[in-house]
Symmetry: D2
């Protein structure tokens, strides 16, 4: 089975078409739209089991927003990106609950690990209202939606599966919908901290950094879950794989040593090369040197986008 | 009723004796012990309802550990202080559960507010084992205690009462005991980030910075709660009160304007002075300029002390 | 001699007038102006030696900008405050150098001490151009001013007087003007991180936290120095002094124990009270609990204001 | 000419021998020693012009200290590594100056970029004495060496070449020797934040992250410069290069398409592959996911090692 090495539905769709030499995938509908000069939206809809099997993601809509030059974004560009995100998010929210239903925003990730700190940083900037509605309702419009926010930490520092923590909180707080923010893995270095993926199919936390955890979704929590994912790293193994694939492709074009190379590729027997480059005891990641700044700007986009869409 | 303006049982006992000109308080037993040249332990035991009414704290043992010169502490001194803390903590734990029973460590406070960040900082350094016992038990001794740790945030940023969050987690994780770390208010500037108070009577989060929240204790959670409190601030109102009290005391010693001054003091009618010095829209606190460093050193003492006592 | 305990010319002028029961101070001209609903500008001009002796600050113009509600400021308010600052700063710059002359921006303070971190934080956000003009001039308009920026650290962590460091840099970089940012002491809690003071008379670093250092000014460096000062703390001693002064004032109003109280005040013999409240081995400061957030917002105002005024 | 893509003399020596199929390099002497179970020292001595041409580094001694498991190092291991570093450093210092001569410690790098923050972090922990000797000599032994420390920032945020800043400071402070700490590039992922390289030949700042700057050495400053370099990143281009080289080597072993492959390698014409994987507008780096923690531990090793060696 094909290893996509990306959590973006958008990239999976492209990879699948390329690998299978298809123009279209049955059960998958895709479209693109320019929001403004700097911002592009891509929509990938997985319509049925066929699409699910192809892209190995659950049925649903996956909207990807790509932002140019976020690294040097000025305030106006961050505001525009937040607007774009908020439009799409509002649409997703309205599919599931009404204007006043309570929402819990969850920021996954480890704030002490730079590329994994996006979720906790966003939570620090969410405008929470639940406690004001409870204790000082006179300070808010009576139509204000109750919003709460939590950053539950990661398995490695809590010792508890994130979904176990969330189950407990959902049982007590009883929100009608969850918005969950997480770092994703991308295939393409170029998308790191420039892209936001939105979907209402839930999330598998930790996927962005190589660990599989229990699903966070309506299945596990009983509440619909909108996932906001931002690619912040590429695994080094992905890069070395791509490196060898491109190289073999190039050799094959020239008609060189075809049979032998094909066999190499099929067997995936360049394991030794990858091991030499990626020692086992560390989790090697590839990021832009400017990742600290990128995470700050992207947190701002996501937090503002969420705040705009909630009230 | 007397306003102690301190969460330390130790200080309350002293203030009560002074205010009532007593040598001893009925229902309260106190003792002192030097751990080494730099570290002193004080034990205040509240034995009955009489003691509860005097110190307005629930029955139980309150151990205070005072550490000299923590600001410039070298590694050995931090290790010594952690040892001392761990001895006392072990004793308290053994009163409630056996060696293998699961423990959840909770760090209260807001990590983005320097003097309130102690709890979250400690959590980042707790050796958690629960997930390893669950998924890779072969890497641990079979007698290892399951330990998990969480930093739930504060009402102002989550919108949810801390006790509500903890209820949910306790129901799902089912620990047999909680250790809760919090910033406290002290009466005495000299004790800021030099003192640790231990008790098994639970905690009222936020008391260190002026907000009352629901109790975190066996009553609300059904699990015994050991509280580790560290004074990190003094309210400015406490300082101005003390300032005026000392001054009036001094005037009275000289026999000056006694009747009038007594009345002033009884009426507590220097409210205007305090307001002029402590504008309402901010929460003014008094800390050492070196608070950032002190919090780092104290977090290290508390985290190591807890880690030593758990396995 | 009167101890002002504030670096704001504005506050000194008020205190001097009150202490001497004056309506005006000879040699000092003051005026006020509302920039918008939230922002007020005050100008104190020290015209001659008379004014210098009264306010104990060198001749020159001191502009103070007060910003309401900076704690919860949204982006528009920060932008407005930056605009206001930039207007005044531009005027001061134009008094000394022309549009293209090189400027060095200096951020004093210790970034590891929250209320002292303003200067280093501002430096991180200054748009520097000097190296681009040197190596890649094609990327900039040919009229771009050369701007460089440095955060030299504090005596306690460098072991070197700030002015010694700056002398060396000024000799090598040869800017035509310095803009120096520093934390100040204020008398009034209400102004902490809400106020910016601008002047072209240089600065005494460390004054904001109790240490006197060598002057940073045209006298020591040979280059004009514009100082941007922001009050971030009040000394605890200032608060206790004020507390006792207000109290004694109140007792005197009632005609109580006048002679004795006057003597107390003259002798300043409530030293013992202040010592009890402010132990010597720490530098106790009073700040709003929200100081971390305030410093972030204020850094943003100052950095944007400077950037706007330089090109 | 061979592109080493590493600043470690140790790695260059290995790469040179491998590329030229040599057992020894003329003009280069190398030796190895185990400090303890976890720590290994390697010494590469470049003796003459021959050695300089081979390794393209100036004549001098390069000591490399490799530390196992620094990621999970406990206090004792950090102390051991610091001891080992301090031994070697002391020897180097004594070659140039006597016990009491003044030293300036310089931390290069950008503290807001995680893998580049090592230098500034070390500076924060250096025990400076220069100002105490100047103002309060009675608090120190009369034989105390004067030590000062500075973190001058990076060209991108100051607009000034680091060497220009240092020239000014050296002229004014007049130290007899500089110790300069910098992040290096390594060839080998396995050495990231586990290795310290010591030499007395100065440093080229920024080399660790791809920018060449003016030399910091006795030539430019007139003062001997001991460089302490720590590899914290590997360039992504290095990884993709290595990936292709290993792969081509493997194909050649099998006797496949030899002539064509050799030509590919000689021409270095897999530029297109590298560009596809490493887009130009970012500086892509490879680090362990745990880089934040590694930098903290390594800063502690370097700061303690320096402090031990200075007094």
């Amino acid at each position: 089975m094909y290893n996509f090495r990306t959590d973006l539905a958008d990239e999976r769709s492209d990879l699948y078409k390329k690998a299978n030499k298809l123009q279209e995938i049955e059960g998958v509908k895709a479209s693109e739209e320019q929001f403004n000069d700097h911002i592009k939206k891509t929509k990938v809809e997985i319509l049925d089991e066929n699409g699910e099997n192809a892209l190995r993601k659950p049925k649903g809509v996956y909207v990807t927003i790509d932002i140019n030059n976020l690294k040097i974004a000025q305030d106006q560009e961050i505001e525009d990106a937040a607007s774009c995100l908020s439009q799409e998010l509002k649409e997703l929210i309205n599919k599931h609950i009404d204007d006043k239903s309570e929402i819990l925003v969850v920021g996954l990730g480890n704030e002490y690990v730079t590329p994994d700190a996006l979720g906790p940083k966003v939570i620090a900037d969410i405008d929470v209202t639940r406690h004001i509605l409870q204790y000082m309702p006179q300070y808010l419009d009576k139509d204000t939606r109750a919003v709460s926010a939590i950053s539950p930490g990661v398995l490695g520092t809590t010792g508890i599966e994130t979904v176990e923590i969330l189950k407990g909180i959902v049982q007590n707080v009883k929100p009608k919908l969850l918005i969950v923010i997480d770092a994703l893995a991308s295939r393409n270095i170029d998308r790191i901290s420039k892209t936001v993926q939105l979907s209402d199919t839930g999330i598998v936390p930790g996927a962005g950094v190589g660990n599989k955890r229990n699903e966070i979704s309506v299945n596990s929590l009983g509440t619909p879950v909108i996932a906001i994912g931002v690619p912040t790293v590429v695994d080094l193994a992905t890069i070395t794989d791509d490196c060898l694939d491109i190289f073999i492709g190039k050799l094959q074009e020239k008609g060189e040593s075809n049979a032998y190379l094909n066999k190499l590729k099929e067997d995936d027997n360049y394991e030794g090369i990858k091991e030499a480059l990626n020692p086992n005891d560390y989790n090697m990641i590839v990021t832009p040197k400017e990742i600290d700044d990128l995470i700050v700007n992207m947190s701002s986009v996501v937090a503002r986008g969420i705040n705009m869409s909630l009230q």
